[in-house]
């Protein structure tokens, strides 16, 4: 139920709607729940047609660094 699917913003339709590519399937998503602005190329989480979160690319990189730390510290 709380399933949210990662997708890639591939087109800005209007202020409240974008097109999201979810593993090759394109569907419209509502952006009303998001404060941040979106651009083509952003990764987002989609839940029942609404974008609930935008991937923080800086944080994703830091995550990888954290992994390296955990993994190298064997």
């Amino acid at each position: 139920m709380c399933l949210a699917i990662p997708g890639l913003v591939c087109e800005l339709i209007n202020e409240k709607r974008v097109m999201v590519d979810i593993t090759g399937v394109r569907r419209e998503a509502d952006t009303s729940l998001l404060e941040e602005s979106l651009d083509v190329g952003d990764y987002v989480l989609v839940h029942t047609g609404f974008i609930i979160s935008k991937l923080d690319p800086k944080q994703a990189k830091e995550d990888l660094k954290l992994w390296d730390e955990i993994l190298s510290n064997q």
Binding site: M1, C2, G24, L33, G49, I70
Partner: protein, 367 residues
């Protein structure tokens, strides 16, 4: 092309994490119990076979994290009462269709002529109401914070005389507190749900380490995400510390999604909620606020007190839901109660604990 999830499924990373989890777990001679409260966690971790990879002294317990499973029979009874007495069309998620009410499921009700339609989400139910102004549409809405915000956004911007919402929404952190306060449950740490946390953030869990000195980690859903969450909470348990570790930072910010939270606070008020087989849990529900009373099906239709029965025919969903019993302990499990013929609510949704155990033939649960 989707998020580059492949790296969160990397077998080598999984193997190294399992080794590290093993090293940590060896420091304890006791069984370490970690409870998650998310149906998607249960489904994804079992599908990936993670339980069988974990050390023997780690027991990963499924808590009440499947909103369809925790939905009380009375809520479905009431929705069906509205349908039977007011000639409305019920719209809801596909997952709700086979969940038992006191007497029948929505699917069975459909068989005797009640208009029930499956929708992808509330937005499709609203479109249906717009296209059919002569038809009364009720959207039966279930879900935790992840889904509440979507319902809230639509409630706040919809004003159709023929559309209303029956809310069976629930909130996670107060339910976690009630689990902690139970004498009949024993566990050592919480794995907090990643997608609920995208909305509420990490902050609402902080009372758990502060007030109960109890470890929490927030985890995502890919195998590496889940194992990192387990690793983080296990480290706290073994070290005897307690804090909230956010292991899903790429999507979960400390403050969550403030815009979504504001929308939820506007459209909903926190209320007491009925949980299947578990009675009323104070302040764990979301009812539509007075500001949007015109769209609240509970106010629009004068629902009488209905006799209700959550558990039928020996079902122990009440114990399964809080992780007190494993599905295999239930006498009905995989006999009369199966994914193709569910008797209890936990066997219905593909995220229900019993459904997952039956579908993936999980046999590692030993007493």
């Amino acid at each position: 092309m989707s998020e580059p999830t492949q790296k969160y499924r990397d077998k080598n990373v999984v193997n190294i994490l399992i080794k590290k989890i093993n090293t940590l777990a060896e420091k304890s001679s006791e069984t370490i119990r970690i409870m998650h409260v998310c149906g998607t966690h249960e489904h994804d971790l079992v599908k990936a076979g993670l339980r069988s990879l974990l050390p023997k002294n780690i027991d990963l317990i499924a808590g009440p994290g499947c909103p369809v499973c925790v939905c009380s029979a009375q809520d479905i009874d009431e929705v069906l009462w509205i349908a039977d007495n007011h000639n409305v069309t019920i719209t809801t998620f596909g997952d709700m269709m086979r969940v038992p009410s006191s007497t029948e499921s929505l699917y069975q009700a459909q068989g005797r002529g009640v208009a029930v339609k499956i929708v992808y989400g509330i937005s499709d139910a609203i479109k249906m109401a717009e296209k059919n102004p002569d038809e009364e549409i009720v959207f039966f809405s279930v879900g935790f914070e992840t889904t509440s915000c979507v319902t809230a956004a639509e409630v706040a911007r919809t004003n159709l005389p023929n559309f209303s919402v029956y809310s069976s929404h629930k909130v996670v952190p107060p339910a976690m507190e009630l689990l902690l306060q139970r004498d009949d449950l024993e566990f050592d740490g919480f794995l907090a749900p990643g997608h609920v946390s995208t909305i509420i953030g990490a902050k609402p869990y902080e009372f758990i380490p502060e007030k109960y000195n109890f470890p929490v980690s927030i985890a995502g859903f890919e195998p590496v995400d889940i194992l990192l969450g387990i690793y983080a909470v296990l480290e706290q348990i073994v070290e005897g510390t307690a804090r909230v570790d956010n292991m899903y930072k790429r999507y979960v910010k400390y403050e969550g999604n403030p815009a979504a939270s504001r929308i939820v606070d506007d459209a909903f008020v926190v209320s007491d909620a009925r949980w299947r087989g578990l009675g009323v849990w104070p302040e764990t529900g979301h009812e539509i606020s007075d500001k949007y009373a015109h769209i609240d099906a509970k106010k629009k239709y004068n629902i009488p007190n209905l006799p209700t029965e959550d558990l039928r025919g020996g079902c122990i969903c009440d114990e399964i839901l809080i992780g007190k019993s494993k599905p295999q302990k239930c006498e009905l499990f995989n006999k009369s109660c199966r994914p193709d013929h569910p008797i209890g609510a936990c066997m219905v949704s593909h995220e229900g604990t019993c459904n997952v155990a039956a579908t993936y033939e999980e046999i590692i649960w030993e007493e």
